[in-house]
């Protein structure tokens, strides 16, 4: 019955000319949301969010949502940090990242609780960070929310999800004091890996990247000890001889670089979301003969409830990340290369879709008053 109704609605929808479909959809879903609000006794709020309208097109769109239920909170956003790898993969249709459009990107934000359900566990005025999309306001379940400790700015707290992703990889790497660590890829995850690895007293953290574009942020205080640009020194990987290699890109080429950078018996942590097909990689000589260990480390495998030595829960990793920021043992503000206004999202994602230029951390500031950082490469006209 339900299936038949869905099919009937689908057939009607397909008869609507394509140009009118978004409008019809907006009206239908808007009406349904209002009806749901009436039934549940909740108000409809208006906000703005970043949407990918199609491949390589981001736009700031209005949207509506319901006020929080008993277990939820309404968060007014201050900052949301882009996850360039994941978001670019969707935006550009990279292998393994197929999504339907429109698509709402983002999963790492910070803001203030402005409404709170009775059983949410949060109070109005609480500063929170967590898995939230690029939105000005939203109703959020507390499951993926953390209280921001005193002294931690919103901008740094908005790295929360990226911090959790990186921490679980670093944990699996089990870096011991004095080991040589190579981090392949110097995007935001790679550069956070540099910093978190440094906390574990390795002998040396070597940042490896295809170009010198991100050298200055990678070598900022508390970052990597050394930077290797493959464009300038393509055969330098063999001399790295790392005990641990953290692969933070996800492409077959980066995985090959990771294998070349490891010493025999070394460990390779696959932290980047793997995309693309591996062909023509000499696994025999690169990996098998050299007894390399591969360790899968994707956030989707993180345990929900119980931690182990090598795998902590999402909540525990998040709390640790915020505590490291609070205690100043970790800082990420040096990684912010571009502070942007939400209205600039189209240009920002256009640059991202072309490789992101030299940018590492791109943070959307949702409150007025933040000037876009000068000296940014504008898209080619």
């Amino acid at each position: 019955m339900k299936q038949a109704a869905i099919e009937a609605l689908g057939a009607i929808y397909k008869k609507i000319p394509p140009d009118y479909r978004p409008g019809v959809k907006r009206i239908v879903f808007g009406t349904l949301l209002k009806a749901e609000g009436v039934v549940k006794g909740r108000r409809v709020h208006k906000a703005r969010r970043v949407e990918f309208l199609d491949f390589e097109i981001a736009h700031l769109e209005p949207y509506e949502f319901l006020s929080p239920g008993k277990n939820e909170v309404l968060v007014e956003m201050e900052c949301s940090t882009l996850s360039p790898g994941t978001e670019r993969a969707v935006l550009c249709g990279l292998p393994g990242a197929r999504r339907n459009f429109p698509y709402q990107p983002g999963y790492s934000s910070a803001g203030t609780v402005v409404k709170s359900g009775q059983r949410s566990g949060f109070q109005i005025g609480d500063r929170v960070a967590g898995r939230i999309k690029h939105v000005s306001h939203d109703t959020i379940s507390p499951e993926f929310l953390f209280r921001i400790p005193d002294g931690v700015p919103f901008e740094e707290a908005s790295f929360i999800e990226l911090g959790i992703i990186t921490l679980q990889g670093i944990r699996k790497a089990a870096i011991r004091p004095g080991e040589r660590v190579a981090v392949i890829g110097q995007g935001i995850i790679g550069q956070m890996a540099n910093r978190l690895a440094r906390l574990l007293s390795p002998a040396r953290v070597i940042a490896v990247a295809p170009s010198a574009n991100r050298r200055s942020t990678a070598l900022a205080p508390c970052g990597a000890h050394e930077y290797v640009s493959l464009r300038e020194a393509p055969s330098s990987t063999e001399s790295i001889k790392a005990d641990v290699v953290i692969e933070a890109v996800g492409t077959p080429q980066a995985i090959e670089t990771a294998m070349k950078s490891a010493k025999p018996g070394g460990r390779i942590v696959l932290l980047g979301s793997s995309r693309g097909l591996i062909r023509d990689i000499d696994l025999w000589n690169l990996a098998q003969c050299r007894s390399l260990d591969f360790i899968g480390a994707h956030i989707t495998a993180i345990p929900e409830k119980e931690s182990s030595t090598t795998m902590w829960t999402y909540r525990r990793e998040g709390e640790l990340f915020l505590r490291l920021l609070q205690e100043r043992r970790l800082s990420v503000h040096e990684l912010v290369t571009w502070r942007v206004r939400p209205e600039e999202c189209n240009m920002v994602y256009e640059i991202l879709s072309h490789g992101g230029d030299r940018h590492v951390g791109i943070v959307i500031h949702w409150k007025p008053g933040v000037e876009s950082k000068p000296g940014i490469t504008a898209p080619q006209s």
Binding site: D19, L53, D54, E56, I57, H59, N346, M347, E350, P379, Q380, S381
Partner: protein, 350 residues
Amino acid sequence: MDLLRIGIVGAGAIAQRNASEAMHSGASRVMGVFDVNAKVARDMARALSVRFFSTYEELLNNSEIEAVLISVPHHLHRSLSIQAAEAGKHVMVEKPIANNLEEADTMLSACRRHGVKLTVNYSFRYLPRIRKARALVAAGALGNITGVQILLHQYKDPGYWTGARSNSPDDWRASKAKCGGGFLIMNACHVTDYLAYITGLKVRRVYCEYATLGSPAEVEDIVSISYRFDNGAIGSLSASSIMRGVDQAEERIWGTNGTIVLDSAGLHVYSTRPIDGLRPGKVHHLKNFPERSWTADWVREFARAIRENATPEISGREAWENLAFISTAYRSLEEGKALEVPSYPDDVDS
């Protein structure tokens, strides 16, 4: 601003239209008319309530006249323009500037030598939809332009070629010597001009095929051109005056970030960027552009350029460059190979 005092040269249908628009532009005053066909010139002068000049010299000797507006067969552009320049009159000449680059060079050089300005009637540029397209391109709606396509097809009946409907019958449009070519230099030249204006691109290399397949003329009535712009973009033009029953007039410009289609309905714009308040990722149909006289705009703009001693918006240089594209296309067929389009010499003013 003082009205620009214009002498009208030619009294054919286009000349009459140009004179009327100039009068209504609010920027000029028509002082009189000359045509070798004295009867049509006298009739036109009477209709406009202006003076009739029996010779061109008489018109040029009139000290009140500051500029001439020449609307005559193409092969006369050179001599009439040079005479005007020598008499110290600014020159407004119908398109194309001349039949070939050598003629254009001598015209521009005479104007430079005598300190007068020259403009060519590529006034379609003043159509609001053309202006809008240019503004959208300038704002980055298309990103880097990668392709241009021109489709211009219509039917010109035998009377067009013989001048049967003209008040001053003449078959000059059918003559290669008088016209320099056919549908390309006579009609499609407007489109090639305003696409250069919209895109800011210059054609570097062309290959052309043309023929006369259905008209009582020695000039071409069908033409197809492939070309490459200076930025690497690729263009094509398909035009003819022998497509019966169904006219076609459409231009497409596309780039890394969008597409613009110009047709009789207006502008159709798609961009990945939110330009001019238009939502990205959607085709917007911009219609109902205001009606305005593009010829009057052209006259107004030239009057302003003279009063402010500025380069006219439609300069001799741009008209020369359009002719360079057209004449190289013709030469390409004649030589049977792709040819480089010559650049405007940098050591001369526009």
